[in-house]
């Protein structure tokens, strides 16, 4: 191979090497670790046995946790679509003078620290939080409502975190649609609704799909939001992984849970990729 031909591979090798060594190899190692044996003394011994996996498959609790995690992620995604699509449509199509400023404002909270944004919901929904303070101050309620530390507050926090992802994806998709197509639909006799349903919506599906996948995957994989805003009965799979690894130090079982999480989300991504284009999702990060 000549020097010039080798150059792209040379330039790429540090990136490929670091991802292979620090991401691919570790994940493979987790799979191996899931077959290791944890002795009674708490030592992890290299082995090939299915004990950890049997424990997982026999325990209904973990399936329930996975189910409730996916349910919460799904609800979050739906709410993001309901709130995000109209907003993105407004930003892309309304006759407004300061579109640039509005777009900039939408992404300002995005830059604010994730932990602070999550914590801020305690200030909003808490017993002495903003909502209760306003409602009690105006005399609408006498007792503070219990809005925090339940599934509702978890979903609020997740929607807050994910909504800008949804809006930017839909916005870019809408912005890329040739306006003449909509005008043509109108000229040919479509009502505004029809031209939206038959032309605009189908053409914006790639953005809607990319935004939805991101919402779902990032929400299902989140640890901090359910931990801070959830109640004692909130079941979230990433939390179980953290408990197994950091608190109980049962690494082989933590490895099993990690692989389950990876496979479950991998299946979702695979199904998505069957119908939509995964590279739309990647590209959306660069915007």
């Amino acid at each position: 191979m000549s020097r010039v031909l080798a150059r792209p591979y040379l330039l790429l090798s540090p990136a490929i090497l670091s991802l292979s060594l620090l991401m691919v190899a570790p994940v493979v190692f987790v799979l191996i670790y899931s077959f290791w044996l944890r002795t009674a003394e708490g030592l992890d011994v290299p082995a090939f046995q299915f004990g950890n996996w049997v424990n997982f498959f026999n325990d209904y609790f973990y399936w329930m946790a996975l189910g409730s995690t996916f349910k919460t992620a799904f609800i979050t995604t739906i709410i993001c679509i309901i709130l995000g699509y109209p907003t993105a449509y407004f930003l892309a199509r309304a006759q407004i003078r300061n579109r640039g400023l509005l777009l900039f404002l939408m992404f300002l909270p995005f830059w604010v620290s994730y932990i602070i944004r999550t914590m801020s919901w305690i200030n909003v929904l808490g017993k002495n939080g903003f909502v209760n303070a306003v409602l009690m101050g105006s005399g609408l309620i006498d007792e503070p409502m219990k809005l925090l530390y339940n599934d509702f507050s978890v979903i609020m926090g997740l929607v807050y975190f994910m909504l800008p992802y949804m809006i930017i994806n839909v916005y870019v998709s809408l912005d890329g649609i040739d306006r003449n197509l909509e005008s043509a639909a109108r000229v040919l006799g479509c009502t505004p609704w029809q031209s939206f349903w038959e032309v605009t919506l189908p053409l914006s599906l790639p953005g809607l799909g990319a935004g939805s996948l991101l919402c779902f995957v990032l929400a299902a994989g989140s640890y901090v939001t359910p931990r801070l805003l959830g109640g004692t009965d909130t079941l979230f799979f990433p939390d179980l992984i953290y408990e197994a690894i950091i608190s109980q130090l049962d690494w082989p079982f933590g490895a099993v849970l990690s692989i389950v999480m990876l496979v479950a989300l991998g299946l979702v991504i695979a199904v998505y990729n069957r119908f939509m284009n995964l590279s739309d999702v990647y590209r959306s990060f660069a915007r």
């Binding site: 792209p8 604010v112 944004r117 808490g126 101050g137 909509e182 990647y282 990060f285």
Partner: protein, 272 residues
């Protein structure tokens, strides 16, 4: 462009009013919690919650007198600076290869480099922790450094790539024609041209690192705290007025950083 002007029909006007209301609600939703944090940071009440009892700056004073928070800030800043420098060097090289050359396996490598974006951070945290422990590298700053570098690398590659696409190679070709060698060309032509992309990638990686919490919880040595993990630990007990003050400071910093970044990129672009 007014090709798709809002319809003058009553139905259309109603639709647009509805869209406007929805958008305003979303903006309120996005900003209200941030405003509440800043508001409470100045509340003199000891509880860190409503009602507002009076204006006070004392929580900011308490904050800067808290050694463990100052320590966490230092750790976070060093970690963000080093890991994003590493990620930027590796990422810019990869982005240059992907934009400038066509070669076999390009599509596959592109996908491979983007893969981690959809990787659940918890799993990433577990995997690197286990693997490096196996290689007798216990939880430490080094693990954090490597981990943060890998986490921000895909973003840097995509971001820099997007910025480099518009860059024409005719400038470099001109330099070669005029007798510059490869090294001269790189430092005197290519580097100045791509510096906005490099600065942008670096700032983005630094923000990601500074903000990271989930994976950091797995990788950090007990006792070492970054700002987010410190806040997380403090929140275990309850929201104190100090955390609100810290939140207000962080909000100002994290909003200022991209503003400065954007300004610098524009300055660079103009100077070129």
């Amino acid at each position: 462009m007014t090709a798709a002007a809002p319809s003058p029909t009553r139905e259309g006007a109603f639709g647009w009013a509805l869209l406007r209301v929805c958008s305003i609600a979303v903006y309120i939703f996005m900003f209200a919690p941030i405003v509440v944090v800043i508001l409470l940071a100045f509340n003199s009440s000891r509880s860190g919650a409503f009602p507002m009892e009076g204006f006070s700056l004392q929580w900011f004073g308490k904050l800067f007198a808290n050694d463990s928070i100052v320590e966490a800030f230092k750790t976070s800043l060093i970690l963000a600076a080093t890991s994003s420098a590493l990620a930027t060097i590796i990422g810019v090289m990869a982005a240059l290869a992907l934009v400038r050359y066509s070669f076999r396996g390009k599509e596959g490598i592109q996908t491979f480099l983007s893969l981690p974006l959809l990787m659940p951070e918890v799993v990433m945290g577990v995997a690197l922790l286990m693997f490096l422990k196996f290689l007798s590298m216990p939880r430490s700053f080094a693990v954090l450094l490597l981990g943060h570098t890998v986490l921000s690398l895909p973003y840097v590659v995509l971001l820099v790539q997007a910025r480099l696409v518009g860059l024409r190679s005719s400038y470099e070709e001109a330099a070669w024609t005029l007798g510059a060698n490869r090294i001269q060309t790189f430092f005197e032509v290519t580097l100045p041209l791509i510096s906005p992309a490099i600065v942008g990638g670096f700032l983005f990686a630094a923000t990601l690192s500074f903000d990271n919490i989930t994976a950091t919880l797995f990788w950090k040595k007990p006792g070492i705290e970054t700002v987010p993990t410190k806040i997380f630990a403090m929140l275990r007990t309850s929201v104190s007025p100090e955390i609100n003050a810290l939140g207000a400071v962080m909000i100002v910093i994290t909003i200022l950083l991209p503003l400065i970044g954007g300004y610098m990129v524009r300055r660079f672009a103009k100077a070129r």
